[in-house]
Structures are given as C-alpha cells and as structure tokens.
Symmetry: D2
C-alpha cells in the first residue's frame, strides 16, 4: 500500500511506564496499518512531550488532555482517523465518549468500561454516529484461534457439549501493589479498575476467546470470586460454572495468584465428534481430537488453514509468531474496515473479524454478572 | 519374604470380561504381596470355574456365591486373610458386609457404596470387628502423588489457596452402552451403578486424589451434573465449585464425553509460595513452581523424594512405571498393615498409607453432595 | 492358562544388589508366563540361599555355581525349561554355553557376549542343539515400538531416507564407580564389561531398536567413542555416522555423561511419505507425521494398532504402561515359542517376535564395529 | 530516540516473492532501529518500482541495479547508513564488495558467501575500510539463546563435554523445486546457492548457534552429505561428527527432507555440572539440568536473566515472542554499534552482540569443510 493510504491515529495513555501503549504502537505499524501522529500520553504534559518526542511526533499534536485532543484533531483537515485508548479501565468510558462525540473512530483496550450502562452508551453512540469502535481482545487475533473458530463453525466437532476455559497468572501472588509495581497498583485499585480486578482483566479474555471460538452465548453463570491478597478490595481469583445457550456446560477459572503461571489462557471445546485445545503460551499449534482418529497437532504455517486464519499468518511453519503479531492482526482488520469506510463502503463490523464495541458490551456484561452471582452466593444468573 | 508370610486372598467378581479384576490380581502378586487362593468370580458358577481354573486355584475354593465363600473361608484353618471385592458398585455393600460379618478383612474397589448410609455402616462394622478395609483409590499409589502430598504437608508451597482438579475421558462420547460395551452397560445402569455414573466413577477419584495430596477437607460444593448421551439416566459430565476448610477455593471437572481424553486425571495445587501439577497420564513427573525460581520438573527415580514416595519406586529414573505399579503400591501398604495386624500389632490405618474405609465414606459423601447440589440448582451444600 | 502349562525356569545371577535380576523375575511372572524354580544367584552360596529363600524356592534347587546348576537341572525330570542369565556381560558367554550344551533353552541379557566370535558360537550352538535363545532387548517389547515397526513395514512412511537414534543418560557424569555404585563399578571395568561400556550397554539398544523398527541392516558406520570420566578405561560417550543397506543415512548418539537425561532412548525414522518418533520415557505414544497432513499422536490403548502391537497392550488408553510390561512382553513371546516347541511344533524365532540370538550376534557386531572404527580415526567400516 | 537518530538504510533484493526481504524490513523498524529509504529490490526495474512504491520510497532512490545504488547513495549527503543484502547466496559477495568499496556499512543474510576466499576478502575489506558488517544469523537474537551463552560462559554447566545440534526441515521432501516453489528453485540451483544447499542454508545455522552459545571453536569435523531428492545436484541432508577445541565432541544433523519438521533447530550443550536445551520452535523457554537438582524450565520474561538476554526481551512472561523479535534484536545491536560509530566512538563488534563478518567467515569455512570431508569419504578435516 502507498503512504497515502496509511491511516493516521492518535493515542490517549501509553506514556512512560505503560506496557500496553507500546504494544498498540508496535501493532499499528507492524504491517504499516497505521501511523501515529498525535497523543495525550499522560496527565502530566511533560510526560506526553517526552513520549511524543521519542516517537518523533510534531509538538502541536501533543495535547494536554484528551478533551483538547479530541476537539483539535476533529477540527484538523489532516486529523486522526482513529484514536487508540490505553488508559486505566475506569477512564475508557469518558475518553471514548469524547472522541465518539467528535466523530472520531475508536480502538480501545478491554474491558470496554467498568459498568454495563457505560458500555451500552458507547455502543449506541458508535452506531448513532456511524463510527467504528474496536476493542483489543487480542487473543482472537491469533491465527490458530481463528482456525479454531472456523472448525467449530464448520461443524467438524459436532454439536458443542462442554467448554473449559482458564486463565491463570501468578503476578499478584505477592502484594506487589504495595511494592511499587505500577501495573499492580492500578489494577487492584477500585478507583481505577472498577469493581473487578481479576475477572475484569483476564476473566473477560476467557469469555471473549470462548465466544469467538464457539460462537455460543453464555446463558447463565454461577461465580465464586475470591480475594486472597491481604488488604485487597478486588478479586484476584475466580471460578465460574457456565451454561451456554445451546445446552453446553463448562467452567472458567481465572487467577492472578496461581504461582507458576505466566499468562496461561487455555480454551478447550468439546463436541459430539471432536475437540480442540488452544494454549496462548504455545499459540502456533492447535490440538485436535476426533473420535476414532489419532490426536492431531495443527501447525500454523505448515498445515492448511481456513482463509481467515491463513490470512493472519506471516511466517512459514516453525518460525514462531507471538503476541505482537496477534495484536497487529486486530489492528489490521480494524484498519481495513476503516479504510473501506473512508472509501464510502458500508462497513458491517461482523465482516471484518475484529472485536467490535458489541463484544466489548458483552464482556462488561460478563464481568457484571460474575460480580452479581458471587455476591449472591454463586447463584445462577442469566445474562439476558 | 518367605512363602509363609505371603497373604492369601479371595476375590468376589473379576470373572471373564472384567477389567479391574485382572488389575487387582496383578497388583496383588506384583511384589509377592498376596496370593489368590479362592474366588466367586461370577454369578454363573461355570464362569467362576473357568476363571479359577485359569488361575490354577483348587476347585473346593471356587464358590457359587459370595455368601457361601465368606462362610466357608471363615471356617477354614487356612482361610483367606482378606477378600478383594471387584463387583459393580451397587454390590460392594452387601458383599463387603458379609465378609466383615465373618471377620474377614476387605479390600474393595471404589466408590465404596452407592449410599452414604451403607458406607457408614461398613465403616462402623470394620471398626467394631477390628478389621482392615482398604478402598482402591489407585492414584494415591503413584510415587509422585505421594511426593506431592509430602510437599504440601511440609509447607513448601505455603498456605494452599486454590486447587483445580479434572478427570476427562472420552469413552462415553458415543452411546457405546447400546453397542455391547459391558463396562458402559453397567456404569450407565442405575441398577448397578447407583445414582451417579461419571461423578461416582471418576469424580470421586478427583476428590480422593485432591484430599490425599492437600490433606484438606472440602467444606462445601456447588455442582452441575449433566447428561449428554441421549437416553441416559445418569450423569456423564459434571463441573463443581469447591470450597475447602482452610478457605481455599477451586473447581473440579469430570467428564466421560470429552473427546480426545483417555484418562486425564490432573490435579493442580496452588499455595502462597509455590504450586504443583500432577498428571496421571504422565505420572512419573511432578511439575513444581516456586516464586522467584524457574519451574522444576521432578523425575521419579532421578530426583530425591521423601521416604513415603521413594519407598514406592521400583525402577531407576527414566524407566517408566505406570498404573499397575501404583495399584500394587496400594496392595503393598494394605498387606503390610494386615501382616502387622496378624502379628498382633495394633494397626492404625493412617500410618500405613493406603486408602481406608473412612476415605471410602468421604468419597461417597462427596458423590451424594454433588447429586444433592445439582438437584438444587447448584446450591452450595456443606459436607459436614 | 492352567498351572500345568506354566514354564519353569532358573536364573544365573540376580542376587542381592542386582537390578536386572528382579526385572526379569517380575517380567516372567507378569502374566504367568513362567515360574522360577531354581537359581545360582551369586558366586557366594550364602547369597544364593538368601535370594532363593526370599523367592520361596526349594533348597535343593539352589546351586553353588552355574555349572552344577546346568548339569543337575538337565538331569531332573522336572528340570527347568529355560535359564535366565543376568550376570555381567563378560560371563554371558560361558554361562550360556554351559546351558546350551546341557540342552537347556536360554534367555540372556544384552549384549549377548563381549566378542563377536563368542556370539557366533552361541548362535551356532543354539541352532545345532535345536534350542531357543532369547536376548532381552527390552525396547522391542513396547507396543508402540511394535506399531512403529508395522508402520514402516507396511510402507506407510514410504522409502526410508534418514534414521536418527539417541540414548543419553547422566548416571556416569560423575565418577560414581569410585563411590560405591555397584552398577557403575562393573560397567566401567573391562574385566566384567568387555571392551565397550557405553556402546555395549546402551549404544546396542539404539542399534537393536532401530533394526527392529526399520527392518534395515546397517551397511557401514563411522564412530567416535570418547572417555570423559577421568581414569576410565572404557567409553562413556559415542557418536556414529551410519549408512543403511537401502541408502538411508543417519547418526546415533549414546552417552552416560549427558546431565539431565535419565534413560532417553529416542528413535526417529524419516521416509519419503512420513516419519515417526518414539521416546522411551514417554512410551505409550507414537508421533507420526505425513506429508500434507497434521502431525498425529498415536495413543496406546486408544488408537487402533496393528495386531502385534495391540496384542502387547494390557490396559485401556491413558492408563500408563511402562518398562515392566515391555520386559514382560519379551518373556511372553519367548515363552509362547517355547511352549509351542515343547508341544512338538517347529519354531521359527522370526515368527514369535522376540529378540533371538541372531539379533544378539548383530548387536555384538555393531559394538565391535564401533570400537574398530573409532580406533581407526572414525573410518567407515562395513558390517558384513 | 528521536527521528534524527533513526538510521537510514537501503536494500538489495527483497522484491516481490521474496520471503527474507520482508523479514529484514520488519526487523529494521520493529523498535525504530532504522528506516528504509532506498532499494534495488529486483533485477527487473519495474519490480523494484513496485516494491519501492509499496514502501512509500522516493523514486529517485529506487535503482536499476546495485552498482548504481552503491555509487549514488555513497555520493548523497543524505545517503544510506547501511545496506541490507537479501539476494541469493551467490550474489552476496559482489553486492557486499561494491558497497564496502563505496564506504557503506553492510548487513547481509547468511551464508556470507559461497567460497571461503570471497568471505575472507569481504572481512578484510570491512576492516580495511573501517566499516561494520553484520550477518543475520538470526537465532543468536533470541533472548534465551543469549541466556544460554551467558550460562555456559559463567561456568555454571562446568566444562563442556558434548554438544548436539540439529536442524531438520521437511520442505524439500518432495521435488517442489520442479513445481514452482521459488525458494526451492534457487536453493537447489548451484548457480544461485553455491556448492551447498542444506548445509549452506541451515547447517550453518547449527554451527553459528552452537558457536554463539558455547564459545567453542570446532577443531575438526567428519561429514556425510546426502542427496535424496531425485535429480538434485546439491545436498538435502547431512550428518556430521564434530570435535571442539576443548576436547568436547558432538554430532550435527541438518535435513530438508525430514517429514514432520518445520524449522526444528535444536541445540543441546552438556557440561560436567549441567546441561541446556534450546528449541527454536519453542524459543521462549530454556531447559536446564544440573546434577542433583530437578530439571528447570527457564521462562523468558518470568525468570531472572542475564543482562544481555534481559535487554533483548520486550514482553512479560507468557506473552510469546518469536522470529521477528529475534531478527529485530540482531538489527538493534547492529544499529546501536553503527550509531556509536557515527558518533565517532571506536566500535569493536565483539562488544555489540551481533553476528559480525568474522562469524560469517567462520560459517563459510564450516560449509566448505563439510563439503571437503564428505567428498573424502567423511574423513576428519581440521578447520584451522
């Protein structure tokens, strides 16, 4: 693609010390999807300048706050095509709202918001203003997750009976939020994270990845959230029983106190004819089992994949791809949709294979339902 | 040991077509623990004769039914030291009761009985008559499971926070009970299996293995049992939320419809300082993780183990041991206790590291509680 | 089978402190293949008595030395059907010769002898006297090794191009032969082991397992034997280039100083259409790769196997079998042949799937050729 | 870093259909190391224009051939800081020479050249002209390979005794060079690849990765190169025995006909006290074994690493990094050296941890020695 077609974007958040800001920026440029041109990277203007300078941005596009940025970028002829929002959870809502109101498309980290009402409001605003809104549920960006989805959808596994999802981590096993770990500080702080920590940060990834692969909606769930870290106000471990709309059952487990696990998202789907296993820490392979056949290990880049999966592959088999490539795939599909939109095409997010604001809403609903069920002694709560 | 010391035993069940009967017999002779001398292997006397003849037993010790066997063996000077009961679940109770009443020690397959009342009655009878009663929860016989228990007990993992257990199988994914599979026929038949199939057959193994490793009692549980096989009357899949007496939480999953899994028992225990993972299908290794240290893979036969584990090892590292050896370890500890008892020692089952009738009772209580919770819409039910 | 059909055997070697003697005894009784009735377990008669007593043998069948044993057992009406020889390598030859000369069948540990001339003499004697002679190359007893052989033979992998074999261990990484390790003492002692240590103890297992699976003879090899342990006289590590009769190439590596490896025999066979990998430490699975298909993991007990492999399986899928079962499979096939022979049938060892004396000869030739090549600066040496 | 400091580079090769060209470009921009500004991407000018246009380059910096490019770029005030050479092996030499002669720094794909003389000439020219020359042996760019090097160098593994290296692939198992596979066409063509195919393409990666990790020079080797693909002129499989300067031994195996392997580079290093295993297809982990300790699995991002390794890590543990990140690490270190050089610092390549032209020379020497040994019936050939 020529330079002219490269989209321009700005970023809110992602200043010094941020982890996910840098990931978004690498993802955006990975295949030349989009070029960063402006930012309000921090509440401290000096930090915004520092980050902007490092990125080689023009100073007149480094803003003191997101409101100024939304307004000014909206009024520029060469204004940004979209904004990437990577602030703590609680601020997703006001920031996204501001940009949507200014007619600017949004890509935002997950969870979309900290309340379901906010999430629905953003969804409505998006639709009303005819904008695009991506939510970076990164794991659906992995080629083998796409392949998993295709396999389920093709009926190869038969009717789905059982789904098991888990996402254990260990990083909050100790009280690192009291020892200077910035990530831990805001995630365990209700003022920044909202009412959920573990369920909101990683539980929601289980829900999204399961929904993406299985195309099944959760009908109801019964959750048990726990706080193991002394003095914490928010959950750091949770187990849930789950029932899906088609009668399938399952359980989910997310934890930030599971010593030995780095980032262990794992989804297993069992149908009447076959099953699949995908592990985020070994993402280039998909384990498939069918009745009366030996187990198969599908290899990204080696084995034939469905087109949506194959298109998300960059390297030959055995050349490992990872987290950045998955993130970039989210950006690639979002920006493809945006380019089509700019060219006047009617864009239905469902046809572009990126996590849309509606999946963001669904994620927040999952989090809220978990909180509600756990508050009611793990009672089954319907999601509709 | 000389021949004189080898114990003599009889078997009820284990005739032609039985799987577990042959396992018990191999286990009993593996290290010369005990010698089979009598049996009522089948309700059909011809089949008993057939099996007895194959085993080289004297015909006067092949019985028409277990009642005759219990009575006659009890009255012989050279009568059996114990009976091994390997009939379908529903008959564990009457058979065991008969032998206990005749003063004969018992080793019995799991689950102990199909109702908690029966189980408690057997426990009482055992104690009253001063007998020994082993229940073959085989997985506690694996050296690395013993090592896991020692590690938890030593406090090396810190305080236990989370326990995850699962036991997926695929063998009932299709309606094989209608296609001549004898094992499937009786397991899915309430008249032979009792009120539970999956939870009673393998769910109980999760409970026992977790209890053995963690030494923690389940305080309460919330279960969701499912029947996926059309026309089945008993569960073939179940998920449970679990709370332990010390505040730990967890989830268990057992399934007989999980395509791709042969016999996937897996137990994971997470403490404040470390965690462990044991997988039955790869039983010679134990995965250990501690904070601030690389993950460790403990190898049976290579790495230093605690005495109870080391004593259960027969082969050098890298020479795989499996299911038979684990089963034999249960027999070895049970017969050691029995030999001590015969020599007049006071025998406390807790000191001999075999699953005693009390663990059998605990298992049945777990099964009943799962059924009760699931009947009450997955309500939390206390186990005390 | 009834008692009458159980074969009787005696053992030379296998007294206190022996490892492999106990393995043979467990293997022989695993499925009731054979019953031990006599022995010369040690050069020290007291030790023979001690072992014999433990095994419950009659004292008149415990012998002061193997010559007495061979003579007396040969003259008894109820004499042994075969002798199991588990003495250090150097004594395989004289002991086996004695029993063959007395008309007694032999099963002997590997390597068959310490010189090729001895090996050939035993082979001749076996044929001349119309006896059976098994060599316990245990790894061909694993069901998945049998399946591998069947797959190669069926042509499913196409024409074989490359074979890679390795057998790393760590147990001689330190000078344990000077620290009281009996196994290490005799293996590193030329007076007991012969001219080869590592190549003779485990290199020969690579050769045998590769030959069994591939059915290909080695045409020539170029070897580099090394001694890393200070003061050692025999090799403790070796690498070889190998050419097979059909034009395939490969390399073998065996080591006793490879820290981190317990008993890492691994064989990989690559053909024009597919390949297979078998790992002794994970013996219940076979990794299969075909062009244009996802990798497959064949599971013993779950997946359909060829008859020779299926017949060697005792347990359902996911119930691990290991070293003892493999060893027992060798005994089972050897004793089946022997029973047929006793019934007057003509017995061709090739039809009974146990390692015959000819494979023992081939193994010794491999060892000698490795020594010769290494002495000549890794020159290629033909094996014919 | 600000824009001003970003280096400018050009590329020779990497036009439509090229694989490695795109990898270099992604690597160069991954962390903003360098910006592409010019190119002679193809011998066909239209293709160069096409690629240049896609990349958004100015047309006056798209050249008809590399000679013109070298000359013109050298004469521009804003000329490139270095050239990236990604043409077929045989043209590495003339292209690199041209740029070196024009005083332009070079980064070039491996193998450096197709003859040792050419390689040495480039090395000399580099030194004489005071330039920097990187060779993209990508695998030394993986953090866990760096950690492996540090561990060996620190002496933690003791003295190195054995090194095993392998690099199996399957992509030439079938005659794809006759079926339109461009990569296969040039690699199997002596006119483009030189005298070696498999050894030159991937065997050299074993040598480089082993040398990087172990810091040991190969003293001599004995190689057996094979051609399995009908009608091929160059090797597609090779095994080698290897002796290292310190007395260590080992074997290497590379193959392009090993069905089932995608890109299976694996290096194992065994010392007197410990060992390590690194697998390219699972690059984020390092397996470590020490005597008398359980096996350890070091995780990139989780476990503490040595500074050179830790500096090459971008993501937290459990977030997979892969091939692009490794490639980018090579670029990052090369461009860091170049920036220092531009600022007038004396730059010793050894201090910048990128593969320098001297390692390129060493690689070509390895290839030539393999060819020579194989031609002489696998005779041991010294490398000095």
């Amino acid at each position: 693609m020529s330079n002219k077609k490269v989209l321009k974007y700005g970023m809110v958040g992602g200043g010094p010390g941020s982890f996910i800001g840098g990931v978004h920026r690498k993802a955006a440029k990975f295949d030349g999807e989009a070029k960063i041109v402006s930012g309000a990277f921090s509440r401290t203007y000096e930090k915004t300048l520092q980050t902007g300078n490092k990125l080689g941005l023009e100073e007149d596009r480094l803003y003191k706050n997101y409101k100024e940025m939304a307004k000014k970028e909206a009024s520029r002829a060469d204004g940004i095509d979209f904004v990437a929002i990577v602030v703590p959870n609680k601020f997703h809502y006001p920031v996204a709202k501001e940009f949507l109101n200014q007619g600017i498309n949004v890509i935002c980290d997950k969870p979309l918001t900290v309340t379901l009402d906010e999430a629905k409001e953003l969804e409505e605003l998006t639709r009303k203003n005819g904008l695009l809104f991506g939510v970076t549920y990164v794991y659906s960006g992995y080629p083998m997750v796409k392949q998993a989805r295709e396999l389920v959808q093709s009926g190869e596994l038969g009717e789905i009976r059982v789904i098991q999802g888990e996402y254990p981590q260990e990083w909050l096993a100790e009280p690192v939020e009291k020892e200077g770990n910035k990530q831990a500080e805001w995630r365990t702080d209700p003022g920044l994270s909202g009412s959920a920590n573990c369920v909101g940060d990683i539980g929601t990834h289980i829900e999204n990845t399961v929904a993406y692969i299985s195309n099944l909606k959760i009908e109801s769930l019964a959750a048990n959230l726990s706080i193991f870290g002394k003095g914490r106000e928010l959950d750091d471990n949770a187990e849930m029983l789950v029932k899906f709309e088609n009668g399938a059952t399952g359980s989910f487990w997310c934890s930030q106190v599971a010593v030995g696990h780095d980032n262990g998202l794992k989804v297993r789907v069992y149908g009447t004819k076959g099953s699949l296993v995908w592990k985020q820490e070994d993402p280039n392979y998909l384990e498939l089992s069918y009745l009366h056949k030996p187990k198969e290990i599908l290899s990204r880049g080696r084995d034939e994949l469905q087109p949506t999966a194959a298109d998300a592959v960059r390297l030959p088999g055995g050349h490992p791809e990872g987290f950045y490539e998955a993130f970039s795939n989210i950006y690639a599909n979002f920006t493809t949709a945006l380019k089509d939109k700019k060219q006047g095409k009617k864009v239905d997010p469902d046809h572009y294979d990126y996590p849309d604001v509606s999946e963001g809403v669904q994620g927040v609903q999952f989090i809220e339902t978990c909180l509600e069920s756990s508050d009611q002694n793990s009672k089954w709560i319907d999601l509709n």
